[in-house]
Symmetry: C2
Subunit: 220 residues, 2 copies
């Protein structure tokens, strides 16, 4: 049974993992017969009121505890997970991927990546194990791999500004419709736009389900 | 395009809506061609740390704001939604259905139901519009309909204690496996055990997807 790591970044599109993307990923992996290893960094995060879209001044939550909501409590601190524990890795999107797992949402191409997240992504790719990232999460991958794997191919959909930022971090951006994915066969990296482009949950699901299928096919 | 109301109760299995059940419901309804009207009560809720399973003493969140995480911000206060606005209603489970929408988790058959939730359930059933409830949410339906519709048929799976509580509120409990649902054709009520029995997200999804399909087939 293949063990697929899933990195969460909180619980909610504006300050954590995009919930639909995370659940669709977990369901698709379970239906594909994979064993899922859900993880998140043990760190503080800012809070956005999802009813108003406004920041909640002074409010702080813990990324691991909030991610545990999506995982129904079955989650590990990413610091305790090694690439050798996994056969592949999947990173759903949501602003948490760009605010918590790294600070791309604030600093763009000059962002820093959480050290444990950077370590696991780097080790998975170095071990030639498949990695999938959807929505804004490819920005994180571009930052981690930019120096080691220049020209690795990714998509975040069609947004030119974000695509330019990815290119400036060392990636080659490929435009991709919401219901498809981009595969970098050399580096075994799969990416799909999901809610960077999706107008409905079904649209997000189609690209994510195809990405999971492609990930499973890349397993040794 | 059928308008299907979805009542959420927060965001997380231990103090709100069960996130997998809610997202699977939204995806299945979207794929069935329905327009979804997501709603929740504007009220305070207690907080459970989903990493430890322990209550967070003194912590309070707002059910409508937390539910907005699952809805990506597109959510209404249930007080503003009338049965005439909808063609059917769907209630996912999670402890929020038994702690926030009503207090069945604390008081069992002597529970009280949030007045706006009770109003909408009662009006939907009175209008002969279909109602689906999964996991623990049927307890809520049993309490609301117990007096008006004695003997209405529901399932929460196989748990004898909970089944007995439903019966004492006026429902007739039907034992049901996780991948199936129970239909009360007279009252147009559909129920499925979901995470009352599910050992995996795929198991929960099968019963919920069948329930959504059955709900759509009951529409006029």
């Amino acid at each position: 049974m293949a063990k697929i790591g899933v990195i969460l970044s909180g619980c909610g599109v504006y300050d954590g993992s995009e919930i639909h993307e995370a659940v669709i990923t977990l369901l698709a992996l379970d239906r594909a017969g994979a064993e899922v290893v859900i993880m998140a960094p043990d760190m503080e995060q800012a809070v956005v009121n999802h009813l108003t879209g406004e920041p909640v001044e002074g409010a702080v939550r813990n990324v691991l505890e909030e991610s545990a909501r999506i995982a129904r409590g079955k989650i590990s601190d990413i610091a305790k997970i090694q690439a050798g524990d996994l056969d592949a890795l999947f990173i759903p999107g949501g602003f948490g991927a760009a605010k918590n797992l790294c600070d791309f949402a604030f600093k763009g191409p000059d962002c820093s990546v959480h050290p444990e997240v950077a370590r696991l992504i780097r080790d998975i790719v170095a071990a030639h194990k498949p990695l999938a990232a959807v929505c804004i999460a490819p920005a994180l991958v571009a930052k981690v791999l930019g120096e080691d794997k220049p020209g690795h191919e990714l998509t975040i959909g069609t947004d030119e500004g974000t695509a330019g930022a990815l290119a400036s971090m060392g990636a080659t951006h490929i435009t991709c419709p919401v219901n498809e994915f981009v595969i970098d066969k050399q580096n075994k990296i799969i990416t799909s736009p999901a809610y960077m482009l999706a107008g409905s949950i079904s649209e997000a699901a189609e690209g994510i389900e195809k990405s999971v299928q492609a990930l499973m096919e890349l397993l040794d």
